[in-house]
């Protein structure tokens, strides 16, 4: 029996027993589709998060007060009380040739009011460098003015939502708002960009760093964002920052410098692990589908005992019978896997259309692995029924014993 004939005969059986075939295809299809969809979700989340971080620029360094040996993790919450990071520390960092921009950040929350309207908002104190470092855009007006950061100019930039809430459709540029107990003139409105790495850029007010320090009566900085001149300059910039701060902090290494790529790499690892985990969970359904194929094929063998007996009487070797049944299992697995991939991609298309932000992409390795696992599962679980068929005694099979 040639391979072509085995394939044709097995295809005939697959098409001949439609209910059985549809059930098996359904099980295998759901298994493969779930692997494709879940890995696409994991991969989409990974791309989204790393993309968000990368959108900040790949040569960014974040300086936090307090020492931590781990890069990419959260800053130390407890432990030693480090020396505060100050505005002078930030300005000193500008001395490094490897550094392009320094944006000191003071953070707090205060009530912002305009006439009778008031809103509790996050206040960011920084310099004009913040706009470029965070890749923010203006919708109108201008950003914080350049000049001596130690000078607490009474100007502010509003997030789009703050502007909307306080001013409605009224123009806000040039108006005075009250933040805490001080008055600030609105000089610009940020463009509407949604959330960006834990910061809702629509619901903030940005003021000069010295003004924020005065407002919160604190001269320590929340963190300092430093942009290196290039990706190659990052190690040099990090070394310079550590040296400058050590000199200023009486020889103490009491800051943590996190590089952007370390953060990205960490998230990348987390989401890759997550994707692998969901792929593993989804693979269980492939195993279940394999068991279903075995069950269906076992039933097929017992239903088709007399057919097997006939094939043997007509001169089919045990090997030929084995190949026919294995071919059936393979066809069911392959077609099921193909259907699963098609369903998976269709579902991804729908989700992608509904939530374009996620940009779901099924990783090729996951699709290949799902199809491979489906095929191997079908074959492995197809072996037992196929061997049973091949071993049938022709006389017993023909007489239905």
């Amino acid at each position: 029996m040639t391979a072509r004939d085995v394939l044709a005969y097995a295809t005939g059986s697959v098409l001949g027993y439609r209910a059985r075939t549809l059930l098996t295809l359904l099980a295998m299809g759901i298994g493969v589709a779930s692997v494709v969809m879940l890995t696409a979700l994991g991969e989409g989340a990974r791309r989204y998060v790393t993309g968000e971080f990368q959108s900040l620029g790949t040569h960014l360094l974040i300086v936090l007060p307090g020492r931590s040996e781990t890069t990419g993790g959260s800053p130390p919450l407890l432990g030693e009380t480090p020396r505060d990071l100050t505005l002078d520390d930030a300005l000193a960092m500008e001395r490094s040739r490897a550094v392009r921009r320094v944006a000191p950040i003071a953070l707090g929350s205060a009530g912002v009011s305009y006439r009778e309207r008031e809103r509790e908002v996050m206040i960011i104190g920084s310099t004009e460098a913040f706009l470029d470092v965070r890749h923010l855009r203006m919708s109108s007006g201008r950003f914080l003015p350049a000049g001596d950061p130690r000078r607490a100019s009474p100007v502010c930039v509003l997030g789009a939502k703050v502007k909307r809430e306080l001013f409605g459709s009224e123009p806000a540029i040039g108006r005075w708002v009250r933040i805490g107990d001080r008055r600030f003139r609105v000089v610009g409105i940020l463009a509407s960009e949604g959330r960006s790495i834990g910061l809702d850029t629509e619901d903030v007010v940005i003021v000069p760093v010295a003004a924020a320090q005065a407002l919160f009566d604190s001269y320590s900085l929340f963190r300092i964002m430093v942009e290196a001149r290039s990706e190659e300059a990052i190690p040099r910039a990090r070394k310079d920052i550590l040296r400058i701060v050590r000199e200023r902090h009486e020889g103490e290494d009491d800051i943590t410098v996190i590089s952007q790529d370390a953060v990205v790499a960490t998230f990348d690892k987390i989401f890759t692990a997550l994707t692998l985990t969901v792929a593993g969970i989804a693979s269980i359904s492939l195993i279940v589908a394999g068991i279903l194929i075995m069950n269906v094929m076992l039933v097929a063998v017992s239903q088709r005992t007399s057919e097997v007996g006939l094939l043997k009487a007509l001169g089919a070797s045990s090997g030929a019978v084995l190949r026919v049944f294995l071919a059936e299992a393979t066809i069911l697995s392959l077609v099921g896997a193909a259907a699963g991939v098609a369903v998976g991609y269709t579902a991804i298309g729908f989700v992608d259309h509904a939530y374009p932000l996620l940009s779901l992409v099924a990783p090729p390795w996951a699709v290949a692995a799902a199809v491979l696992v489906a095929l191997v599962t079908g074959l492995v679980f197809g072996v037992v029924p196929a061997r049973r068929a091949a071993r049938l005694d022709p006389v017993a099979a023909l007489t239905g014993r």
């Binding site: 029996m1 004939d5 059986s13 043997k312 045990s318 030929a320 023909l398």
Partner: protein, 228 residues
């Protein structure tokens, strides 16, 4: 053509041993037409299965065309069946999902005959049995007589040397049965050795040779050249 020497076939049924073939010595020449008769359980089907290489002897020897086939491997048994033997069964044993032509084609597929040659031989077989217009019908669209004729077409399509028919008329009305018997006898006249297991005395009487089995032994063998 077919030679059995001290052939034995035992089956264990519970604690008991059933002697389905008990020291059977038998010679059947090429082109013979023999009917194997006997009561139920007498061993006639076991004898036919052993001749057809579907079953192995427990003891004794079997020569087919002078070759000892007693201890052939399963694959060699399958090959010998493909090349030399055609079967006709009481219950037709047609594959329900295949058409008449596809059922007839099966032995040719198993023998690795080229697809083009297959088509020609299938058409030829069906036509010789008056089934050309039924080629694309499935078994459930055919009458009992037509089904058995398809089964005969399938048995003869490989041009075997022996056709073994187990109760070929057992499931047919009288007219269809007679039709089937005449077809089989026609094949015998063309030189194919024909062995028919039957309960039907009238059918047995048409055979040149009648072998009667009782309790696994040959009780009588009439009409043969060697044992008149």
């Amino acid at each position: 053509m077919i030679r059995f020497r001290h052939a034995q076939r035992f089956f264990a049924v519970g604690d008991q041993v059933v002697r389905a073939l008990d020291d059977v010595n038998l010679d059947i020449g090429a082109g013979e037409y023999a009917a194997i008769t006997g009561p139920s359980g007498s061993g006639k089907s076991t004898l036919l299965n052993a001749i057809g290489l579907l079953d192995r002897l427990t003891d004794g020897s079997y020569f087919l065309e002078g070759t000892d086939v007693t201890h052939l491997s399963d694959d060699d048994l399958a090959r010998t069946r493909r090349e030399k033997i055609g079967f006709v069964f009481q219950f037709f044993h047609l594959v329900p999902r295949l058409t008449a032509a596809q059922n007839v084609e099966l032995p040719l597929i198993l023998s690795d005959v080229e697809p083009n040659a297959r088509r020609g031989r299938v058409e030829e077989s069906l036509e010789s049995l008056g089934l050309a217009d039924r080629a694309h019908h499935r078994p459930n669209q055919l009458s009992g007589g037509q089904r058995q004729r398809v089964a005969i077409a399938r048995a003869m399509v490989t041009r075997p040397q022996v056709i073994l028919a187990d109760e070929p008329t057992g499931n047919l009305d009288r007219a269809s049965g007679l039709d089937v018997v005449e077809i089989l006898e026609g094949l015998n006249r063309d030189g194919i050795t024909l062995l028919v297991v039957t309960h039907d005395g009238e059918l047995a009487d048409r055979a040149a040779r009648r072998i009667r089995m009782v309790d696994g032994k040959i009780a009588s063998d009439t009409g043969s050249a060697e044992q008149p």
